[in-house]
């Protein structure tokens, strides 16, 4: 389905009867060159780049529910490249550059808004740490600015600057960061993949792998067997459950993360702000709702919902940073299940099973990665070599001791 100004006028005059679904709803073929498991942001982006950039059109995406109904439809939509380590930061900066051209690339309005992210600084030690991070960002080709107190006051005069325990001393600002419309990102990639010939197959759960002599031949699904030259798995919070069907145990625990949105308010917060003394971040959607979140739930869960202790913690952090939000009413909260790795960083790699590839371990930060994850996973699937910005994101890095541990927290997922 394509759009044009002419089409909009024509449909308006003819009762909007000519609009068609954005993509086809095909039945699975007996076999494909490449099968992607998971129709979330990463799976759809992978299929999009495989067909459009790497010229591999005989691709199918198998999704157990509907397209974009997983974490891509549940996140708080923050896009940024303010990581520290050399194994991560070039990847996220590559992703941010793709975000900047994404709407032109797939010709769909993803409401990408580079409204900036400000990480607040509350102590001298934190300023040193953020200065180091800012320099790492600059070295990777990203933008970063260290703001003093006056500059932060100028941007957001309503913050709680003189909180006795957590006074605000400054901030690290990335102006090119921002937010995007999460659903539209999934839809844009889906439409672009469909137009290029990819079969997007919904209500099709992968229930097993057919593996012969250590090589994957295809997948068993609720809609029958589908043969495949290669299989790429991108199922986010379900990573371990799907990969155990191929006999793999992974350095991953599934945990819940909640998010919250308030009633619609007049424009007040025009960027993304993160609290530096606890886990809290906030932005305002174009509809006016304050969108905010905080810590993960800390325990293994597949329940797709969180518990009240984290709700309380998030609200307390919010009130400590921005007391003015105390009068806003929370409209909704929800949760998603994330694949937390043992070092807090993702995996894009081959697996010990020939022809089976893994894209997972995105923890709570995989939305910003969507375009680059799709691009680099497509690169790996198409060329059998890792893209230069993902060479550190190996599955065997835990065994070899080459972790990408941004926080230096060690092998405990709930600390990342």
């Amino acid at each position: 389905m394509r759009f044009s100004g002419f089409r909009v006028v024509k449909e308006a005059l003819t009762g909007h009867k000519g609009w068609k679904p954005l993509w086809r709803d095909p039945d699975p073929q007996p076999a494909y060159d490449i099968v992607i498991v998971g129709g979330g942001g990463h799976g759809l982006a992978t299929a999009y780049y495989l067909a459009n950039t790497f010229d591999k059109p005989r691709v199918a995406v198998l999704e157990k529910g509907w397209l974009g109904g997983g974490n891509i439809g549940r996140n708080t939509t923050i896009v940024r490249s303010n990581y520290l380590l050399p194994g991560n930061q070039p990847f996220y900066e590559f992703s941010l550059k793709l975000w900047e051209g994404l709407e032109q690339e797939f010709n769909f309005n993803a409401m990408m808004s580079q409204r900036g992210i400000l990480n607040l600084i509350h102590s001298d030690a934190q300023r040193d740490a953020y200065r180091r991070r800012g320099n790492a960002m600059l070295l990777s080709g990203a933008d970063a600015e260290l703001l003093d107190l006056a500059a932060v006051r100028d941007m957001y005069p309503f913050l709680n600057f003189d909180n006795a325990r957590f006074p605000i001393r400054g901030g690290l600002l990335q102006r090119r960061a921002g937010t995007a419309r999460h659903d539209a990102v999934a839809w844009g990639f889906a439409r672009g993949a469909d137009l290029a010939g990819v079969d997007l197959i919904q209500n099709c759960e992968v229930t097993g792998f057919r593996i012969e002599n250590g090589t994957v031949k295809g997948v068993e699904t609720t809609r029958g067997y589908v043969g495949a030259g290669k299989v790429g798995v991108a199922v986010a919070g379900s990573t371990t459950r799907v990969m155990e069907k191929a006999g793999l145990r992974l350095p991953i625990e599934s945990q819940g993360l909640q998010a919250f949105v308030s009633e619609g308010l007049k424009p007040a917060i025009d960027g993304v702000i993160t609290f530096g003394a606890g886990h809290f971040y906030i932005s305002q959607s174009d509809k006016g709702g304050l969108v905010f979140g905080g810590d993960i739930e800390s325990y293994n869960s597949y329940a797709q919902r969180g518990n009240l202790p984290v709700v309380e913690d998030v609200m307390e952090c919010g009130m400590a940073m921005l007391p003015g939000i105390g009068r806003a009413r929370v409209l909704r909260s929800w949760g998603g299940i994330m694949d937390m790795t043992m070092d807090g960083s993702p995996i894009i790699d081959r697996t010990p099973v020939q022809g089976l590839y893994l894209n997972g371990g995105w923890c709570y930060g995989g939305f910003k990665a969507t375009p680059a994850s799709g691009y680099t996973f497509a690169h790996l699937l198409a060329t059998d070599t890792p893209h230069p910005v993902t060479t550190a994101m190996r599955l065997d890095r835990f065994e070899r001791g080459h972790l990408i541990d941004e926080k230096g927290a060690g092998a405990q997922p709930n600390l990342h």
């Binding site: 145990r249 350095p251 325990y299």
Partner: protein, 96 residues
């Protein structure tokens, strides 16, 4: 979530911190053959089940005991809790 502490009775899980899979009680022997592979498995790999999970909780704001809690990861229902020291002792006796 309410954790049935074996000594203190029902306690709010907010008083606890969680460390993860209770398999961490079974630390491999560092001098045995294949210790390197055993430690990789011990430190990094997890079953991550959808269903019953035995996990280590620490009563940080209580009596500072470690518990092994059995919990359903699909529903968050807690089915039981025992002192980790008891579980560790049973493990050691089983191994001896």
């Amino acid at each position: 979530m309410i954790i049935p502490h074996p000594l203190l009775g029902p306690r709010d899980s907010q008083e606890f911190t969680i460390m993860g899979d209770a398999k961490l009680l079974a630390r491999p022997d560092g001098l045995a053959d294949g210790a390197e592979a055993a430690f990789f498995d011990y430190l990094y790999l997890r079953d991550n089940p959808a269903g019953l999970h035995r996990e280590l909780w620490y009563h940080e704001q209580g009596d500072r005991s470690w518990l092994v809690v059995t919990r359903d990861t699909l529903t968050h229902e807690i089915l039981g809790a025992e002192l980790a020291s008891d579980v560790a002792r049973r493990l050691a006796e089983g191994a001896a």
